[in-house]
Subunit: 399 residues, 2 copies
Amino acid sequence: MENYDYLNPVRLLYGKGQIANLGKLILPYGKKVLLVYGQKHLKETGVYSRITNTLKSSGITIVDLEGVHSNPRLHLVKKGIQICRDENIDFILAVGGGSSSDSAKAIGIGTKVNYDIWQAYEDFHSLMHMNEGQFPHVPTQSLPIGVVMTKAATGSEFDYTAVLSNRDTKEKLMVINKVLYPKFAIQDPTLTFTLPKEQIAFGIADIMTHYMEQYFVVQENTLILDRTKEAGLKTVIEAGKAVMANPQDYVAQSYLLYCAAWACSDQSMTGALGAWASHQIEHEISAITDLNHGHGMAIVYLGWMKYVHESLLHKFARFAEKVWSIKRGGKSDSQMAAEGIEKTTEFWKSLGITLNLSDAGVDESVIPEAAKQAVRFGPLGFIKQLTEDDVVKILESVK
Amino acid sequence: MENYDYLNPVRLLYGKGQIANLGKLILPYGKKVLLVYGQKHLKETGVYSRITNTLKSSGITIVDLEGVHSNPRLHLVKKGIQICRDENIDFILAVGGGSSSDSAKAIGIGTKVNYDIWQAYEDFHSLMHMNEGQFPHVPTQSLPIGVVMTKAATGSEFDYTAVLSNRDTKEKLMVINKVLYPKFAIQDPTLTFTLPKEQIAFGIADIMTHYMEQYFVVQENTLILDRTKEAGLKTVIEAGKAVMANPQDYVAQSYLLYCAAWACSDQSMTGALGAWASHQIEHEISAITDLNHGHGMAIVYLGWMKYVHESLLHKFARFAEKVWSIKRGGKSDSQMAAEGIEKTTEFWKSLGITLNLSDAGVDESVIPEAAKQAVRFGPLGFIKQLTEDDVVKILESVK
């Protein structure tokens, strides 16, 4: 394991009925709340009124910011920042999936800086890829935020990352900074019951690729980390099947929520940091096309696994054995690895996820631009250094 | 899974050389530090001078409190509280194992209350066991503390529990309160290299029983929790063997430290809280006899497993299969459970741990008193409600 510096101060409240605690959780920060959410689905399912009633009964004033979109957008974040300033908002409450949470994070830091918040995303992206240069737009504080999750997927409720899309420049960038941590996150499985099955499936792929980005690492001596992720992956696969069969399966939904939080948490990142090359490639695809992230991840990750697995055969073989329970027998690592990738493909297919770009509505003409953007600061990845040409080949393999 | 409210704000720094960061970690809280530690071992191994040199080079003034004993003592804690008040201490740094950490926690809260700190332990103990009554001695703040671990065992560096022994009344009680969380914990495997093998072995048993107290629970639908603990237990067993063969095995020591922290953390406690009956019984034994806690746990836990396992056969059978890799074949749960307990016994024996009270220097004459004390607020345990008579039988079985 590599040296690490772990910190996760998020208070995570799990279980049915936890939203009754919202008032108690928020009031220490103030009485005026910006409520950030998508729109239709939340109101149709009654979650919106349950939350607003709870807040009102605690004497909290609500200002609405609806319209969060998959691949959260800079435009809405700027609107939220303006509201926070004009209305002297005390606390931001996100309700929904990772897009609501990431939007709230961006608004939280954006309210506290005196520059265009997009500069923080541009600087962080440059900082990640370059050793030299000045990157002055580093947020040092945030308005306090909280998250009520209605989808098991990104784990944004329990991490310190925020992704943001700029539809004008067709860029999708992120900030990773410990000031982004929510003060609390609520995970109530009953709030996930009404999510459309397509969204559930994309969420399952998202959780799995978070574990896998941190599992397929080049570092050695990671046994306890590997086993923890194998426990998570096996459980997500089993719970994923159960939830697709019955979205009201409380126990299976609870496992998905649990794994979503820990898969992308600082616990998962410690000891051996993966390169997250597939995420970087997928971000370029969805920046251009607005493809759903979980959907994009399933497609890109399969292409990536096929392209790089020979450079980390023993780990892909272990994955097949431990996660998919494929019997070793006399098989070579190569054969085991291929079977593990095949099982993953079959599983995602069984969830109804289309596994190539064209079936996902993405024209292959975006490949050159996405590949060029993905490597604009240099090659991607640790297992194999991926050049623009490599990224093109990966995307061509799943076009 | 049961509803939970998870929170763990401890910053955990892992790896070789992390003590170089001590100045940076402590200075935000002030420049005057109470250093809490055992004595001889720390000075002989050079750890003491490495730490004090680092602190001094950061301009930190050190006040020593040496003399921490296995089963940390109220007497020393009171001395520490007096020093903190007289010397206006800003920060408490514990160096050692769980006893140093627990002492620092007790001094931290004790400095901030205007009553005898033992009253907080008495009240918490009453509160745990009784539904009615007034328990006014609840600490609400603490001097900030940090921990440098030199032993993988209790996980006190990453939890909010503190155990304390009163040698006058022969009681050993605990406080569980989130104000006890350290600000940071440092786990550097190289600091554990010189620990006597007997201490290493007791630490291994301690870590295992923390996982097991939270694994053998009556709650259903705990699959992700079970798998996470199985991952930890398997790793502790393998790493334990490696460390006993070579205490300078950096990787194996790192696994023990990792598991020690998470096994007793709030992550481990969430979703299905165990009754910790064995811990309560062991605490009574060591309260009277001053037996090492890890040693006592191995002995009591074996007695407890044998006594209660028939009431939770499926889980003990799973333990045998998943942790000890015992083949199911056509075996009954009962047979599997027995084999799992046998494997655990053999393993602890292989570490050199004596597995009965008399070989551990504990005379059987203490059994009646320990049993009576253990159940003074009522029967213990969820799997089986243990009366005084049951506790006597458990202890008689390992006398």
